[in-house]
Amino acid sequence: MNLILSFRSEILKTKRTSIWYMAIVTALIAPIYSFLNSSAPYRLAQIKNDPWNFHFMGFGGLLLNMMILPAFLILVCTLLSQLEYRNNTWKQIYISPQPLKNVFVSKYLIVQLLLLGVILLSCLLMFGSLYAVDSFKENLNLSRHHLNWEMFLIFWGRIYVTVLAISALQFWLGLRFKNFIVPIVIGICLWIAGAMMMEEHQWKHDDKYPYIYPMRNNFPKNPSERTTILWGSVIYTVIFLTAGYIDFNKRRSTS
């Protein structure tokens, strides 16, 4: 079987499961928060000057990047491999006529598909939430203002890249542990520890800790740090995926 077939079989497995519903609900949070935030009286004064850019590159995106996506990835990476554990289908997969790397890559591609899906859906719904503010709260004269598309693509692209490392590590942890609570607890602890290290302790090595990247992306110490963390995230993704694949391969030979 080639990779496309493996990927299709993974999509088939997740069809009508709670994963997709969870992705849709997750995508709703940032637009709803943006609507509440942008329609608050003290924000309306700020947003009126530049509604498109303020709304799309404001607190909704920040929240999505720093809190929603890491939490979503922790849960979805756990749930994805639990589908196999719960149905006792790992052996079935191992003996199926497909290379192990295809199984591994296709499962990770599902995580990426979900991640991109959440980001794109959030983005689309943000348009809706801005029109809702314009219709129900205050006339923002949206046609007179414009969205800076270059900044918009950079902002949302960075959101995706900064959570890549978390997705790779959580994916590995999800595959590694049979008990669902272990990857969830490890993920939440690393995430909270990251937030504390950055906020409370001003840790100087935070550019080496992947769970801080989404926060540092929005609150960098200096502009050049953004480039460092984007590269850091990509490098960590490659490292975690390689280590995860080696571990996954080893486990098959011992199971």
Binding site: S18, I29, M67, I181, I184, V185, I188, I192, A193, H201
Partner: protein
């Protein structure tokens, strides 16, 4: 079987399982981070006089806002899920014990684990105070006066404020076979509740049980913390009753 016997059987089930180890790990998180902070960064000048009390009260804010709610959300999912995972719900339901006893024993078991969390947190904070006393002898940490009442009240307030969440999550954990649903609902509501207090400072938070834990963080809400604790307990009673009414029907279609 009496409630005591049901409770003993629940305790037996959780013995040497993930929930117990998870409780110790979660309880250790706050004191460990606090100790790292104090040992690596040192104690700021303005905190040196009352650091012993602050370790038990001010430093407990982070566990009470972040760690304890998340711990409760995960624990309330993990315990009922043990029955789903082992396919033992039918076994539990046909055993010679009343539904009230099963329901209450499971809920009390969760409360006991929360108690273990709070006690472990206290013990480990004491150990971190000893470590600080040794590493920073100039502070004379262990000889500073300790306000036992304030320490007890910080724990009780946190427990009361979270009792509503605990009851709701317990109910969700019993209802859903899929573990991700109660966890996702819990984490999402916890996010929303925290943001409503810390960022939006909405008036709606007075009715939202997932917001009460964050009251202590802001001076605006701090005076309402005790009131929020009482509201949370009322929510707990309502949701436990609703949860039990749902659980009572379970025998027909487990």
């Amino acid at each position: 079987m009496s409630l005591y016997t049901s409770l003993r059987s629940e305790l037996l089930k959780t013995k040497r399982t993930a929930p117990l180890y998870f409780t110790f790990a979660a309880a250790a998180f706050g004191p460990f981070m606090s100790m790292l902070d104090l040992v690596l960064d040192g104690v700021a000048e303005e905190h040196t006089k009352d650091i012993f009390n602050e370790m038990f009260t001010t430093k407990f804010m982070m566990p009470s806002i972040v760690v304890l709610p998340l711990f409760i959300i995960l624990l309330c999912t993990l315990l009922p899920h043990m029955e789903y995972k082992n396919n033992t719900w039918k076994q539990v339901l046909i055993s010679p014990q009343t539904k009230v006893n099963i329901f209450l024993a499971k809920y009390i078991n969760i409360q006991l684990l929360i108690g273990v969390f709070l006690i472990t947190d206290l013990l480990l904070t004491t150990i971190s105070a000893v470590v600080l006393h040794i590493t920073e002898p100039g502070l004379n940490v262990l000889n500073q006066p300790l306000d036992g009442y304030a320490i007890m009240m910080s724990r009780l307030s946190a427990y009361a404020a979270l009792s509503g969440i605990c009851a709701i999550q317990f109910w969700l954990g019993l209802v859903f076979r899929n573990f991700i649903i109660p966890i996702a609902i819990g984490i999402a509501l916890w996010f929303i509740g925290s943001i409503l207090v810390l960022e939006l400072q909405s008036d709606f938070v007075a009715y939202f049980p997932y917001s009460f834990h964050a009251y202590g963080k802001l001076p605006k809400y701090d005076p309402l913390f005790n009131e929020a604790g009482l509201t949370s307990i009322v929510y707990a009673v309502i949701f436990l009753t609703a949860g039990f009414l749902g659980f009572r029907k379970r025998r027909l279609n487990p």
